[in-house]
């Protein structure tokens, strides 16, 4: 097959957001991921977002059943799925309607819609199709009806199993992607399942390409820079799993929970190749206690979970803090409280990570801000946990879990790995908690070390791990455990403000919102506002320099994907307003009137939403406390 020249020159774009939605099981996710992978290979910056229905098998043709993928492709590296879709491929009008009603389509965006429903034997389907297409035309969307099913039937018997590759062909033609790379992608996707599937799917891909070539006059070009360095393309959960392996940890104990589990899927397959194991425990509590046991007797272990599982692990996290056992706990956050929104994104667990577990249980809390950071943060978390003999909680969330972003291929470094557990004899007279007065740190005794026998206990204990009956002993031990956080904090580099270093507004965020905040802040700066941006990697302890940075701006606002009471609410006032998680922390620590903005809509914050929230704040008078 030869490639024909486009019928008209392509429109050059800096970036475009492309959604592909279908009923569950029609393969829109594979289509979107393949589209993104091809673009990434050509050198585009990409960020993908999975569109996941809440049920495994939602009813066909339902508004709530949209399943698929958003790909944002750009000329440059990006960290967010952007705002609304510029182009949507939909396999039926109901899933499209779901996206439309959720505000996911940009005004005037292009819609490539399967047209077979216009001739459906069921008059209700025909009517519903007509209603939606009428609405789209009336509201100014660029609707293109595509006879996907009809075209696919020329090649396969079951178009439900083929439309996705036809759609991939369409998109590759529209965006001018390399057809050879697309064929190779199809071979890679289907060759893993069944070699016999490769040929028909390549045919479908080519059919989609040809159809677009003949019938669509849409041509876009998002110029790509061919990559010169090797890059990794994985989602956030796979990056976490790779980080677990690269950190030298040897045991991951987990219990299935959405959205954390997919990290354990890859890890279950791969961990044994580096000598480790994934232990699927009988419950969340067993998982964390198993990890604690493995850590206590060897190298630092990890447990991976999401919100409800994190709540269940709290008592054991306190035990690891009390016993000074290194432990990495990864919480891939989801919508809460309770069962909440299992598949949806939210950043609601920061305060529970910082303050959770009863009593004074100081632990280190950090958050990954993009896919690359998921990988490196696990390695960092393991090193901190083993250096400071404590719990490090690493927060990710559902939006990072399934998002893909290419990042520079890490180059292995020996210091990533854990040292083998010390088995040398313990010097005479040494105690298991000989806390250093300067750092709060003590040498860790590991079973097997002659002379190190002691009983580690969750009871208050003295430096010999003997049960504390003297009140001063308890206070002394708590002081030392608390001190470790201060000692660790002293090792952190001061934060650096991005954007403007002083001015009208400082925006502070953490975790997965980084890319969206970056873009929103840049838009405001282009309009002449002096806006700075801080994205915190460590949430407990907080790195130095935050207070000084806040003092250089008229206003400070935390942008988070969690709930904060809105001042517009007539019941809400300064005495009862509840803030977003980070805003609470910063207000408490720095005595600054930090404002708070967030949403809890179960999806990543978009640059546009943040931008308008920040504009509203810039329009308000400067609060006196901050100006002072």
């Amino acid at each position: 097959m030869t490639t024909r020249a486009p019928t008209r020159p392509a429109t050059r774009l800096d970036e475009h957001v492309v959604d592909i939605v279908s009923d569950s099981g029609e393969g829109a996710q594979t289509c979107g991921q393949s589209f993104a992978a091809i673009a990434a290979r050509m050198g585009n910056g990409i960020w993908t977002v999975e569109i996941i229905p809440a049920e495994i098998q939602p009813p066909a043709r339902s508004i709530a059943g949209a399943s698929g993928n958003r790909t944002r492709l750009a000329t440059h590296p990006i960290r967010t799925g952007g705002d609304a879709a510029d182009l949507v491929v939909a396999f039926n009008e109901q899933v499209l309607l779901g996206r439309l009603r959720a505000g996911e389509l940009a005004p005037g965006s292009v819609v490539l819609l399967e047209s077979c429903w216009a001739d459906d034997p069921d008059p209700a389907v025909v009517a519903s199709y007509a209603a939606v297409t009428d609405e789209l035309r009336r509201d100014g969307y660029d609707l293109r009806e595509v006879p996907m099913e009809q075209e696919c039937l020329r090649i396969v018997e079951d178009p439900r199993r083929g439309k996705n590759m036809f759609a991939l062909g369409l998109l590759c033609r529209v965006y001018g992607l390399d057809l050879d790379l697309a064929r190779a992608q199809v071979r890679s996707v289907f060759g893993k399942k069944d070699a016999a599937l490769v040929a028909p799917n390549v045919q479908l891909l080519e059919a989609g390409w040809d159809w677009a070539d003949e019938h669509l006059d849409l041509r876009y070009e998002v110029p790509a820079t061919p990559p010169t360095e090797p890059r990794i393309v994985v989602n956030g959960n796979t990056a976490l799993a790779l980080g677990v392996m690269a950190s030298g940890m040897e045991v991951c104990a987990m219990y299935p929970i959405t959205p954390a589990t997919s990290a354990s899927h890859y890890l279950s397959e791969a961990f044994e190749r580096v000598g480790g194991i994934v232990h699927q425990a009988e419950d969340e509590i067993a998982a964390v206690n198993f990890a604690i046991g493995a850590s206590y007797a060897g190298t630092c272990a990890v447990t991976i979970t999401s919100g409800p599982g994190y709540s269940l692990k709290q008592e054991a996290i306190g035990l690891a803090v009390m016993g000074e056992i290194p432990l990495v706990v990864i919480n891939v956050q989801r919508g809460g409280p309770s069962t909440g929104q299992p598949t949806k994104a939210e950043q609601g667990d920061l305060l529970t990570a910082v303050f959770g577990s009863h009593g004074d249980a100081p632990k280190i809390v950090m958050a990954a801000s993009d896919i690359e950071d998921c990988f490196h943060s696990v390695i960092t978390a393991r090193r901190i946990a083993e250096t400071f003999h404590t719990v490090v909680v690493l927060l990710s969330d559902a939006s990072l879990a399934t998002a893909q972003q290419p990042f520079p291929r890490p180059v292995f470094r020996p210091e990533w790995l854990a040292a083998p557990a010390d088995q040398s004899p313990v010097p005479e007279g040494a105690h298991p908690y000989d806390w250093d007065e300067r750092t709060g740190l003590a040498r860790r005794f590991v079973p097997g070390q002659p002379g190190g026998m002691h009983c580690l206990t969750g009871l208050a204990h003295d430096h010999g791990s003997r049960v504390a009956y003297d009140p001063m002993v308890n206070e002394d031990a708590i002081r030392h455990r608390s001190r470790k956080l201060a000692a660790f904090q002293q090792t952190l580099a001061p934060v650096r403000v991005s954007g403007d270093d002083d001015g009208d507004l400082l925006v502070i965020g953490w975790g997965s919102t980084r890319g969206a905040i970056e873009e929103a802040v840049e838009r405001l700066r282009e309009d002449g506002h002096r806006v700075g941006r801080l994205h915190l990697r460590f949430l407990q302890p907080l790195a130095p320099g935050i207070g000084e940075a806040m003092a250089r701006f008229d206003r400070v606002v935390c942008v988070e994907n969690n709930w904060s009471d809105r001042l517009e609410d007539p019941l809400v006032d300064v005495d009862n307003r509840r803030f977003g998680n980070l805003a609470w922390l910063l207000r408490a620590r720095y005595l600054v009137d930090v404002d708070s903005w967030g949403q809890v809509r179960g999806r990543p914050l978009t640059p546009g939403e943040i931008e308008s929230a920040l504009r509203a704040r810039l329009a308000r008078p400067v609060p006196e406390e901050v100006r002072a």
Binding site: A184, L319, C455
Partner: protein, 326 residues
């Protein structure tokens, strides 16, 4: 087994005196059965010449769970009900260590019951001693799952309402249960023989020890102490093999083959006679650490293998083929 238990019990020279295995004076009440259990464990350590640095005693919360504080060895006194998962993690990561679990009836069969069932299924090589006094002692007299019906406690002032949970029947019904025994704290010789058999069993050895609580349930076991005919003593050449003088005191002796699961279940279900001895043993069930070995690789090997994993997801410049990146 290549040597019989009798031979092992006649092991010569002690490396250490019993006191070597004790590091603190216990704070259990006078007459508490926990003291007898600890003495038996210390005899085992002495007789097996266990280096204290190679032993780990893991416990949960309760009177019995203070056990690791008093033993010369590594101890892990963790959370209520969670001793088993901790011990599984230790054993998986460190099969070279001798790992013991001391737990109580509340710790094991109530708050930790889920872990208990699954521990059988994992079958790690642990010696699990469940001190069963039929009451919560540390929190001062509340009914436990094994409290007999009618027992008055602070939470059952009109007498316990429910049939007690039968730990032996539960254990013998658990998937992969590989060693189930019952013993009483007032028969030190039998206790030692059961402990020795448990220690030499490769897999999870579960021992329920009926243990007296003179503080809250004084006299609970007197009918069995005073009338040994109410005990079914299970004997076997490679398990409980009491000397003739002791054996004579138990008219209801039964030569029991511990590989006979059906008989073991019937014995456990017959509540007229209290079984003492090894009810069931199956050394053929693989241990979890055998199935799931942790292999510590050299840094060079790690580098190679981690690079290989990264390769699976790498897009190389000028890469025409698409093998990763999906």
């Amino acid at each position: 087994m290549t040597t019989t238990l009798r031979e092992r019990l006649r092991q010569p020279a002690e490396d250490h005196p019993l006191e070597f295995y004790q590091c603190a004076v216990s704070r259990w009440c006078t007459g508490c059965g926990d003291n007898a259990i600890m003495s038996a464990v210390q005899r085992l350590c002495r007789d097996e010449h266990l280096p204290p640095e190679k032993t780990v005693f893991v416990s949960g919360i309760g009177c019995s769970s203070r056990f690791p504080h008093y033993m010369n060895g590594y101890g892990f006194h963790g959370l209520h009900g969670r001793a088993l998962p901790v011990a599984e993690g230790i054993k998986l990561r460190r099969p070279d260590l001798h790992v013991f679990v001391t737990t109580g009836d509340g710790d094991c069969t109530s708050i930790g019951a889920g872990h208990w069932l699954h521990a059988f299924r994992y079958n790690p090589d642990l010696t699990v001693i469940m001190h069963d006094n039929g009451i919560y002692g540390l929190t001062k007299s509340q009914a436990s799952p094994t409290s007999r019906i009618g027992i008055r406690t602070n939470t059952t002032p009109r007498g316990a309402y429910l049939e007690p949970l039968d730990p032996l029947s539960v254990a013998l019904g658990a998937t992969n249960a590989s060693f189930v025994a019952q013993v009483v704290d007032w028969l030190p010789q039998v206790l030692s023989q059961v402990l020795t058999a448990a220690f030499h069993h490769r897999g999870l050895a579960f021992i329920r020890v009926l243990q007296r609580c003179p503080e809250y349930l004084d006299g609970l076991f007197d009918p069995w102490i005073n009338d040994p005919s109410r005990i079914r003593l299970l004997t076997h050449a490679d398990a409980v093999d009491p000397d003739p003088a002791l054996a004579r005191a138990f008219p209801n002796r039964e030569a029991h083959d511990p590989s006979d699961l059906g008989r073991a279940r019937r014995i456990a279900a017959d509540h007229d006679l209290l079984p003492v001895g090894v009810l069931y043993r199956n050394p053929a069930i693989p241990t979890y650490e055998d199935l799931r070995p942790v292999v510590h690789l050299s840094p060079d090997e790690m580098e190679q293998r981690i690079e290989a994993e990264l390769d699976r997801f790498t897009i190389w410049p000028d890469d025409g083929g698409v093998e990763g990146g999906g």
